[in-house]
């Protein structure tokens, strides 16, 4: 061993100087290099860890050895093993005087630690010291580390020095100081906001390296706030000009291009600054045009700059000449053999089609080629392009392509992405109900568990709501087709849970609605689902609730219900389920079946999942009952705040007791209230002793008290007695209860959606000519008719397919296609509404699917605004009642503790009326309950009026609650309505 060390030292002193390595190190690296398996590598590393543990601890290790150990430690961690035992030695090494050791120490620390590691605090001091060093290389090393390790808390410790270094005489230091400041700005924009102007100053730095680095923070700053940097447009243009004219040192050249990386960054910035700004864009045209003309197509970097030019051109205010040049460049890209260039071409095409949709048509066959390419990256990029150019005329082809692709990929990340895009496109552009349902079925079948749960809720809402207009026939057709396809699909052996939930819900809600299927048929299917999925409780819950709906519709219709034997056994099984939610639902179902038709009809109104519901959270319908109770000598409710206020003025002793009470259970009877407090006790009070035994029946009455709006009456004594009720009201007022404030997508909103079908204004003659020229460009390439067909359906759309054929066969006269085009216009025009025009700029004649109603709708949605006012932050997906998610059952249960019969139906309206109903059935008390007992919304509204003086926010909340409905609404698919109706 000693010998080895000797050799190592000798080697270290050898020719390589400080970078010299010991024999041991060389052997280690060699053995790592020669391993052929992961296991072998792991063995070596584990042995190395043991060695390092003993060696690093040795205080007599020479420094150059220590540096080598640190590098070995880097290997340990790079190869995937924990090297935390050695971190402290890396920290120690940063203190070293020797630059190489110091820098290695900093390197190791930046590689090992993240900015929140405990050891960072030990390094901050060193960084501070090194930033002051005379040796600029030490300063650079410290700045490197500062860039990685300084977190929000430690920024102030180094910030003054970093700012000072911005004016350092060495350009390398200035450059790194700029980057450190940039990093601080990313971490904590607030702490350096006053220093942002330094970036502007550094842009004018004499050194191109510093200027180039400054572009990074400026890019970020401009992304955040374009308008503050408009004054720099001319500077950027000038810099770009100078770079393009080769004014920079030759050392920045790469492949004979002058500083291409700086050019690219500048073009990115110009793209941001010129976006939607004609005046700023005009400054850029010349220089961008120059660069595009001069570009070098033989090198990758030349094409990279060209591509960036196209991006810039497509982002700034359009200039016809530049667009033409860009289009030419794109066609060169697309015709290239290099996949990389074709990839860029497709991407650039996607950018340019936003401005000029015709461009995509010129390259349709190239696009189809890319779509059919085996290269997954290229394919995916092409799908992105197709996604951007989807319109109602080609949505079927595109979505079908996407679904086919989705089915065949394994990567969940992309499956999810493509699935949600399919859903989005289908919702926006669906040409028919059937197609929409079928597409959704396919998406759900293959990616059901990957898509956002919201998508499932959207689908349910869509089926439930229909399309927001009065056309009931269309709605019921949609439902019928949904039910029909679901009864078919439900037999499939494996379906994703989310899809089954949708199926169960739809079958429950509409399975028997059109009379095509009998209740026993549907319920049989539902039982099958519940039984087949013994582990999936959510689906089971959906199925049971759906069964409940089916049977209640039957009962309400006056038909006699015969439970299927399998249904009986399912209920039996669930009554003993471990899941309280399932148990609850099973009990409810059983109770529901036992009720008479009139009650059931109120509990489970047909097709009422979208009805507005009013929730009387003040429980004012109990007022009468409470009044009665008070008259009979019960104590009125005292709100918590007042009780607390009371205890403050009450004497010290009772306060002590109060505290004592809150801390432990109390077993003896409560004390009598102090005589001193009696003046505060209102005269209606009966003897408080009545309340001492806290038993279940009293609990009920107290629940009612808690809702009594008589806050002025209070007593300290009762505050103690009613301790148990603390938080009852509060609990009821819990956000999760009030969460169903999200909105129904009302017809108003639905009317504002923008149109999806705008006529294509491409002249047929024009395109014919282009088509010919395309053919002439590639005369030798034989294009299969299949491809042409695909291209035609993708790019031409339904209305243009005639034209496509005419141009290829050259026989059909022009007016023919013109007529087709016209008819398309008429067709689409009828589906347009006036509102559409406001939301879509008239200049955008060529519908390219990019402008959708989604961005417009939310701003107009009054409920969204309402939600904003209420400042409620719940997740809309959790808004549903039991019918949709079994998980919020506990909430509701806490609401209606004394209600053994609870409706898990589709809406809170049902819930409310169930409670009222059941309470009147069970205990038959109070006229108030009777009033609301058979209540639909009107009764709830009435009772609401009875509740006294709600504050502003309360009333808003209530208003929002009114919008609550069974399915989560969101304004994501406005166009569907239009398309389906049109």
């Amino acid at each position: 061993m000693d010998q080895l060390k000797m050799i190592g030292r000798e080697l270290a002193m050898g020719s390589q100087g400080g970078f010299g390595q010991s024999k041991e190190f060389l052997d280690l690296i060699k053995s790592i290099g020669e391993t052929r398996s992961k296991a072998e590598e792991d063995r070596i590393v584990l042995r190395e860890i043991e060695t390092l543990k003993t060696r690093l601890g040795n205080p007599n290790t020479p420094k150059f050895k220590l540096k080598e150990y640190l590098v070995r430690l880097l290997y340990v961690e790079m190869l995937g093993h924990d090297a935390s035992f050695g971190y402290i030695y890396a920290v120690k090494m940063t203190h070293d005087e020797n630059l190489l050791f110091k820098r290695t120490g900093y390197l190791a620390v930046t590689l090992f630690l993240n900015e929140d590691h405990d050891l960072i605090i030990l390094i901050v001091n060193t960084i501070q010291k090194d930033l002051r060093s005379d040796n600029y290389l030490v300063v650079c090393a410290a700045l490197n580390a500062a860039c990685r390790l300084i977190n929000e808390e430690t920024i102030p410790a180094v910030l003054p020095q970093v700012v000072e270094l911005l004016g350092h005489h060495k350009e390398a230091v200035r450059k790194k100081a700029v980057m450190a400041l940039y990093r601080f700005h990313q971490r904590a924009p607030g702490s350096v906001s006053h220093l942002v102007s330094n970036f502007r100053k550094r842009l004018c730095d004499n050194d191109p390296g510093v200027m180039g680095a400054t572009l990074c923070p400026l890019f970020d700053l401009i992304t955040i706030d374009v308008n503050s940097y408009k004054d720099l447009v001319i500077s950027f243009v000038n810099i770009l000009k100078q770079v393009a004219e080769r004014r920079l040192p030759r050392s920045y050249d790469y492949r004979h291009m002058p500083a291409p990386f700086i050019q690219i960054k500048l073009l990115k910035i110009l793209g941001l600054l010129g976006n939607g700004d004609k005046k700023a864009s005009e400054h850029m045209y010349t220089i961008v045009g120059d660069i595009m003309r001069k570009f070098d197509s033989t090198s990758n970097i030349g094409n990279a700059v060209l591509y960036e030019c196209i991006c810039c051109v497509s982002s700034i205010h359009p200039n016809p000449k530049l667009l033409e040049t860009a289009a030419d460049a794109i066609s060169k890209f697309l015709k290239s053999d290099s996949h990389n260039l074709r990839y860029l071409g497709i991407d650039a095409l996607g950018r340019l089609t936003k401005i000029n949709p015709e461009i995509a048509e010129q390259h349709q066959l190239a696009v189809i080629d890319c779509l059919e390419d085996l290269d997954d990256t290229l394919k995916r990029k092409t799908f992105e392009l197709l996604y951007k150019m989807t319109k109602s005329s080609n949505v079927e082809v595109i979505v079908n392509c996407m679904v086919d692709y989705m089915i065949n990929i394994n990567d969940n990340h992309f499956k999810t992405e493509i699935a949600s895009r399919c859903v989005e496109l289908a919702e926006q552009f669906a040409p028919s109900n059937q197609w929409f349902i079928q597409t959704m079925n396919k998406v759900f079948e293959h990616a059901g568990d990957l898509v956002n749960a919201k998508v499932a809720h959207n689908l349910m809402r869509l089926i439930a709501e229909g399309f927001g207009e009065d056309d009931n026939i269309v709605d019921s057709q949609l439902r019928s087709s949904a039910v029909e396809s679901y009864t078919r699909i439900i037999g499939e052996p494996i379906l994703p849970s989310a899809f089954l939930q949708v199926i169960c819900w739809v079958l429950g809600e509409y399975g028997t609605a059109d009379g095509k299927y009998s209740a026993s048929y549907i319920s049989g299917k539902l039982c099958d689902v519940a039984e087949a999925l013994s582990t999936d409780e959510i689906v089971k819950a959906y199925a049971v609730t759906a069964l409940g709906k089916i049977y209640s519709f039957e009962i309400a219709a006056g038909r006699k219900v015969n439970l299927l034997p399998e249904c009986e056994s399912l209920i039996e099984e669930l009554l003993a389920s471990h899941s309280t939610d399932l148990q609850q639902r099973a009990y409810e179902l059983r109770a529901l079946i036992g009720l008479d038709a009139h009650v059931v009809a109120n509990l489970m109104p047909m097709d009422a999942s979208c009805e507005d519901i009013e929730i009387d959270k003040g429980l004012s319908f109990l007022d009468g009952y409470i009044q009665q109770a008070i008259e009979n000598g019960a104590q009125p409710y005292v709100s918590e705040s007042e009780r607390l206020g009371m205890s403050n003025i009450s004497n010290f002793k009772s306060q002590e007791q109060h505290e004592f009470l809150t801390h432990s259970l109390r077993f003896e009877a409560y004390e009598l209230p102090k005589p001193s407090m009696t003046p505060q006790v209102p005269p209606v009070l009966a003897s408080p002793t009545e309340l001492f035994p806290v038993s279940v029946p009293y609990y009920h009455t107290e629940v009612n008290y808690s809702t009594t709006p008589v806050p002025s009456i209070s007593s300290a004594g009762s505050s103690e007695l009613q301790l148990r009720l603390d938080g009852v009201q509060k609990k009821w007022g819990h956000p999760s209860y009030f969460s169903p404030t999200s909105s129904t997508l009302n017809s108003d909103a639905a009317k504002i959606q923008n149109g999806s079908t705008k006529p294509d204004s491409v002249g047929s003659a024009n395109s014919e000519a282009r088509h010919v020229s395309y053919d002439s460009r590639k005369p030798q390439v034989e294009i299969s008719p299949e491809k042409q067909k695909l291209a035609a359906s993708l790019f031409g759309g339904a209305s243009k397919s005639d034209r496509r054929q005419s141009s290829s066969s050259q026989k059909v006269p022009k007016n023919n296609s013109h007529a087709a085009y016209k008819s398309h216009v008429e067709k689409t025009a009828t589906s347009d509404t006036g509102a559409q025009k406001t939301s879509q700029p008239p200049s955008d004649l060529l519908d390219l699917g990019e402008t959708t109603g989604t961005s417009i709708l939310p701003s107009l949605d009054p409920f969204k605004q309402l939600e904003g006012v209420l400042d409620q932050t719940q997740d809309p997906t959790s808004l549903n009642t039991g019918g949709f998610s079994g998980t919020d059952a506990p909430d509701i249960m806490s609401l209606y503790v004394d209600t053994s019969l609870r409706d898990q139906g589709n809406s809170t309206a049902n819930l409310l009326s169930t409670v009222n109903d059941s309470s009147s059935l069970l205990s038959g008390f109070s006229d108030a309950t009777n009033r609301t007992g058979h209540g639909g919304n009107t009764v709830a509204q009435l009772t609401q009026k009875l509740s006294e003086g709600p504050n502003h926010k309360d009333s808003l909340e209530k208003d929002a609650t009114v919008r609550q409905m069974g399915v989560t609404p969101s304004g994501q698919n406005p166009n569907l309505f239009k398309d389906l109706l049109g």
């Binding site: 400080g18 970078f19 390595q21 690296i29 790592i32 290099g33 391993t35 052929r36 992961k38 590598e41 880097l74 290997y75 961690e77 790079m78 190869l79 995937g80 093993h81 020797n98 630059l99 190489l100 820098r103 290695t104 390197l107 993240n114 290389l137 650079c140 490197n144 860039c147 390398a172 450059k175 790194k176 980057m179 940039y182 990093r183 990313q186 390296g209 180039g212 680095a213 990074c216 040192p249 050392s251 920045y252 790469y254 990386f261 990758n300 970097i301 990279a304 700059v305 591509y307 991006c311 996949h339 990389n340 990839y343 085996l374 290269d375 997954d376 990256t377 290229l378 995916r380 990340h413």
Partner: protein, 143 residues
């Protein structure tokens, strides 16, 4: 932040250099490296040098037995990154002279120093080979 990580991995899938510009735990790095390498190894020469993985775009280039992989976000110009890889290799080549996998292995810290000069905070800050190498040469001389 454009560049999220830079990896050098040989064709056996062994990591030779790893620099992350955002924090990932050891396990996350291990998993990520494995997945990416498998993906890139499965591709042929004609296919794009870009692969999408999770929310990264990976730009990769192969030199003999060594893959250079750069993970970038969506904003980045892929072709420019591809050329950046080449610039990195050229720079190393200038320093080591005919750089090979073993050079990087034996001088891991130097390779890192070069990267530190070229990329800071996920941005390309220096592309002049002379500027990149001068601090390293100075350090060599000093020690």
């Amino acid at each position: 932040m454009g560049i999220r990580f830079i990896l050098m991995v040989n064709k056996q899938g062994q990591t030779r250099l790893a620099q992350y510009y955002e924090y990932l735990t050891l396990e996350e790095r291990r998993a990520l490296e494995g997945e990416i390498v498998r993906k890139c190894l499965a591709r042929n020469e004609q296919q794009c040098s870009f692969v999408e993985h999770r929310n990264y775009k990976i730009v990769y280039r192969r030199y003999a037995s060594l893959f250079f992989l750069v993970g970038v976000d969506n904003e980045e110009n892929e072709l420019a990154i591809l050329e950046f890889i080449h610039l990195l290799v050229e720079t190393m080549d200038r320093h080591f002279g005919n750089v090979c996998e073993l050079d990087i292995m034996f001088h891991l810290e130097k390779a890192h120093f070069m990267l530190e000069e070229m990329v800071m905070n996920g941005c390309i800050v220096e592309t002049s080979k002379a500027n990149i190498l001068s601090p390293i040469q100075l350090m060599d001389k000093a020690s």
